[in-house]
């Protein structure tokens, strides 16, 4: 009986992915507000700032479990904490990055990952000139040492920013040495076991959308 109620309250379907993708926008916006000056914010206001549909925002925020005050809105501090819990910012995951090219460097220089739950703890490359150097406290190791480091540090997330030609090999190594999720920045369609969380960030997909829309405008 208790279990049944629980199932109704928190249905196993979970939060829709588009909502998850918008959550960082809300979080980012809310963090910029000086809560000494404003304590509450309404969904329509958020919608206006972020160019979203007001009821969309209401629906999204409902997943946080925070209930708003009629005519006033949602308490900002509550929302922030709820979103951070929802996204899991308080259970940080360690990450390895393989491929210290320009894109890899860009990600290593990204200071914004740590506060949102991902901590890049080591990078790998095969280029002698890069091995041993530091990028924002993150050391670049010879990829030969991946196994050794992975056994020691047990990273959950693997970021691949290598040339496409070696992406699958790198993914295979990551899988063998216990990675839980792979964030793939190459255009290769990686083959990984279904238990691995795979997130592709295909740069050409966005470009295709842009060019398609541009050409559509007559």
């Amino acid at each position: 009986m208790e279990a049944e109620r629980k199932q109704e309250t928190k249905k196993p379907t979970g939060v829709p992915e588009p909502t998850i993708r918008r959550m960082p926008l809300y979080h980012n916006l809310l963090k910029k507000i000086n809560i000494d000056e404003v304590e509450y914010i309404s969904a329509p206001l958020i919608a206006r700032i972020l160019n979203l549909d007001p009821t969309q925002v209401v629906k999204d925020l409902s997943y946080t479990g925070i209930i708003g005050k009629t005519r006033v809105g949602y308490k900002i501090v509550e929302l922030i904490i709820a979103i951070e819990n929802l996204l899991g910012f308080h259970h940080p995951h360690d990450a390895f990055l393989v491929g210290a090219g320009n894109l890899g460097f860009a990600l290593l220089n990204y200071t914004g990952f740590k506060p949102v739950g991902m901590n890049i703890i080591a990078a790998f490359d095969t280029d002698r000139k890069k091995i041993g150097t530091l990028v924002q406290d993150v050391k670049i190791y010879d990829f030969e040492r991946y196994r050794e480091m992975a056994e020691k540090m047990k990273p959950a997330i693997g970021i691949i920013t290598t040339p496409p030609s070696v992406a699958q090999q790198v993914a295979d190594v990551m899988v063998v040495w216990g990675i839980k999720a792979i964030w793939n920045y190459t255009q290769v369609s990686l083959r990984v076991p279904p238990s691995i969380v795979l997130q592709d960030t295909h740069i050409y997909a966005s470009l295709a959308v842009i060019i398609n829309k541009l050409n559509k405008e007559k």
Copy 2:
């Protein structure tokens, strides 16, 4: 009567966006095939390679207008040309990139944009040390000179890889000097007129999805 038939054949709704986003995957795969060895490819095979649903591939390919041979598949060269036409690779657009940090450098070093219809012809920054240097044939100019260059070169696409704090200003300048589309790599929700094609690439959105899935696996 003739006009009516046309309207039925090619409905104005156009190609679904998810299909557009998958097209570069097909294109990339097809280009890698040696057409001297294999002339045809079937949708189920493509699906297996790219980890997609077979009927999904069939639906997507139907938008190219290419009709496949039963039991054999689609003629590879025909498909490539059709996809390139659909995505508009043959009508290249010039682009300006503003913000020559790591991410900007990564994009400038990306050799794969030219063949797919986007040609980065100039980059801008405010950092004295970078101004005047070349990255892959692309020169970095003082952002002060944006107007002058834009009037001369009339780029259609503006890529923003600046720090978030200046992203909106940059977007405003781009809009004033006639940009048609903006590819935004910052986490800022840019405000632009509705006539401007706006494509956001929010890195945190993908990260949120990864972390969310990771935490869901109990």
